[in-house]
């Protein structure tokens, strides 16, 4: 029983990490209908920048984070100025292709600026197991993963309030629904895009910090973006809670499958289980668990 619980918890915690990446995708997709392939690389870039700034200038963690947030906002502005502005009203697939290009540029830029070796990121997040759980219940739960979970919860609450209650949040949702109509009521798409890319840059930074603290800031970080895909298919591309719950289900399912089904069919299920699950979802519920209903008036 304890073993089952431990597997479940570690699955859930891994899921939170996926959710952090998926969240960035959802934000941009919601507000501009663009699937941002570069989201994973943005997390890598943010992590690299943070480590680089802290190393080169000897900044304390909080100053490093502030500076990195500034860099991510600048990046959002540049992306709007150099890419999005030129591709207004093109097909979605063209914007998608542009984000693939962006992914390569950012990857290269990160390497050029901060070097390509694996870096340790230590901003003072707690490490090791949660003691009382280990002592009293013999459960091994990483402190870092708990921190990630708490951060994710806070972030989702803040984002939900931002989207539902504020003027800018409402404008973001309006843009997501109908570009033309949003323009016609005087919403400036450029402003909205800069805002939404900035926010998702900050989300990427959080993901970068968490993954970086866990396994070092390295190139493979950009590949976790691939794991975010099944999370999105499960949770729905347009739903923030969906990204979280999708992440949890994928994380948990993966671990369960690996432990309990793995021995039967020879293991390594963890690598493809998420994609199988996503495939099943695509067949039966293409908008995902929490995706916006495709409204059709008859």
């Amino acid at each position: 029983m304890m073993f089952f619980l431990e597997v479940t918890i570690s699955g859930l915690m891994a899921g939170v990490m996926y959710s952090l990446v998926a969240l960035g995708f959802v934000l941009i997709f919601k507000a501009s209908g663009v699937f941002n392939f570069a989201q994973g690389v943005m997390a890598l870039f943010a992590g690299l920048t943070l480590v680089g700034l802290m190393e080169k200038f000897g900044l304390p963690p909080w100053a490093g984070i502030m500076a990195t947030i500034a860099v991510m906002i600048l990046l959002a502005w540049l992306i709007e100025f150099l890419i999005l502005r030129r591709l207004v009203n093109q097909e979605h697939i063209i914007l998608f292709m542009a984000t693939i290009g962006l992914a390569y540029v950012l990857e290269g830029l990160g390497d050029v600026m901060w070097g390509s070796d694996v870096k340790l990121l230590d901003i003072g997040l707690p490490q090791g197991a949660v003691d009382w759980l280990l002592d009293d219940y013999n459960l091994y739960v990483e402190k870092l993963e708990v921190a990630a979970a708490v951060t994710a919860v806070i972030m989702v609450i803040v984002l939900a309030i931002f989207f539902q209650k504020t003027r800018i949040g409402r404008a973001l949702r309006a843009v997501a629904d109908d570009h033309q109509a949003a323009l016609s009521v005087g919403i400036s798409l450029r402003t909205i895009w800069v805002i939404v890319w900035s926010v998702s840059g900050i989300v990427a930074l959080v993901a970068g910090i968490m993954w970086g603290s866990k396994s070092g800031v390295q190139f493979s970080l950009s590949l976790i973006a691939l794991k975010a895909l099944p999370v999105l298919m499960l949770g729905g591309f347009t739903s923030i809670p969906g990204a979280i719950i999708g992440g949890l289900i994928i994380g948990m399912g993966e671990k369960w499958a690996e432990i309990y089904m793995g021995p039967i069919i020879g293991g390594a299920i963890e690598n493809w289980f998420a994609y199988m699950l996503a495939l099943v979802f695509l067949l039966f519920r293409p908008q995902g668990l929490f995706g916006e209903k495709i409204i059709e008036r008859i």
Partner: protein
């Protein structure tokens, strides 16, 4: 507005237009010439109807004014558009809404996944006169459209066509406009509902002093509510005049109101091409 009051202000000419479009030409995608020299004027506080068949250039004219053309790769290549005496060309739609000129697009274009009330609130995006003022205007919109108050919590995507049209007009109203460019308010609505919406439009014009430029295919109802009308055909203004006079015009009757003249009982006598020639000459 009281006309004698306007005359007392020395530096404004009488009958000053809030919007004047001077001989504009619009090209889409650098090749497709859609408007071939359209001129029109909307007097302050007036309702002007822009009439014509499908593809005549009504929507393009409105979008040229509201500057939504750019996002569809259209361009005004000749002529000028002035809103309250200022050249519109370099303004963004955002600037224009701030100045009080807003478009209600054809086909409603509500934000489907937002509630009716949220839709209305997005109309106030450009305002910064505080929550209280916006709230007051929301109530004002609800007095004009009581139906929206009932449906305020529903997603706009699930409301009926008429309610969506009301939402779209109400949303524009939330920006405190001086002028609304209204594109095909009657599209896809039951005749009774069309009448209801036009009554509200007239009330807005009279009570709030909003000027209106109205693109319509439904010539009958548009000429009933407008003061002045322009008829577009193939990107040109072919006829204009007071609404009352246009209503009596034989050509308008025949082409747009579906009423044949006295001595024209059969379609054999319907010499369309001839008339066309005369208009386009």
């Amino acid at each position: 507005m009281n006309p004698s009051a306007a005359k007392e202000i020395p530096d404004t000419a009488p009958e000053k237009a809030i919007l004047s479009v001077n001989n504009i030409e619009v090209i889409y995608n650098h090749v497709i010439l859609v408007l071939k020299g359209v001129s029109l004027e909307v007097p302050k506080g007036g309702i002007v109807a822009l009439l014509g068949a499908n593809g005549a250039g009504k929507t393009t004219t409105l979008k040229a004014v509201s500057n939504l053309l750019h996002s569809e790769r259209g361009e005004v290549t000749k002529g000028s558009i002035e809103f309250e005496g200022d050249e519109v060309n370099d303004m963004t739609p955002n600037d224009l809404v701030r100045r009080g000129c807003i478009q209600v697009m054809e086909g409603r274009h509500c934000f489907e996944h937002l509630t009716v009330e949220e839709n209305l609130l997005t109309g106030a995006y450009t305002r910064n006169d505080g929550y209280g003022a916006i709230r007051a205007d929301l109530d004002l919109v609800y007095t004009y459209f009581p139906r929206l108050k009932e449906r305020r919590k529903s997603l706009a995507g699930y409301t009926s066509g008429g309610e969506q049209q009301m939402t779209a007009i109400g949303r524009a109203l939330m920006s405190k406009p001086k002028m609304i460019l209204l594109d095909e308010p009657s599209m896809g609505l039951a005749p009774q509902l069309v009448e209801e919406i036009f009554e509200i439009i007239r009330a807005l014009n009279e009570n709030e002093g909003v000027s209106l430029l109205l693109a319509e295919q439904n010539t009958n109802i548009a000429l009933k509510y407008a003061d002045f009308g322009y008829i577009l055909e193939s990107g040109r203004v072919v006829l204009d005049g007071e609404a009352a006079i246009l209503r009596e015009n034989e050509d308008v009757k025949e082409f747009y109101l579906g009423v044949a003249g006295e001595n024209r009982k059969s379609f054999r006598d319907f010499k369309h091409y001839k008339r066309r020639k005369r208009w386009l000459a």
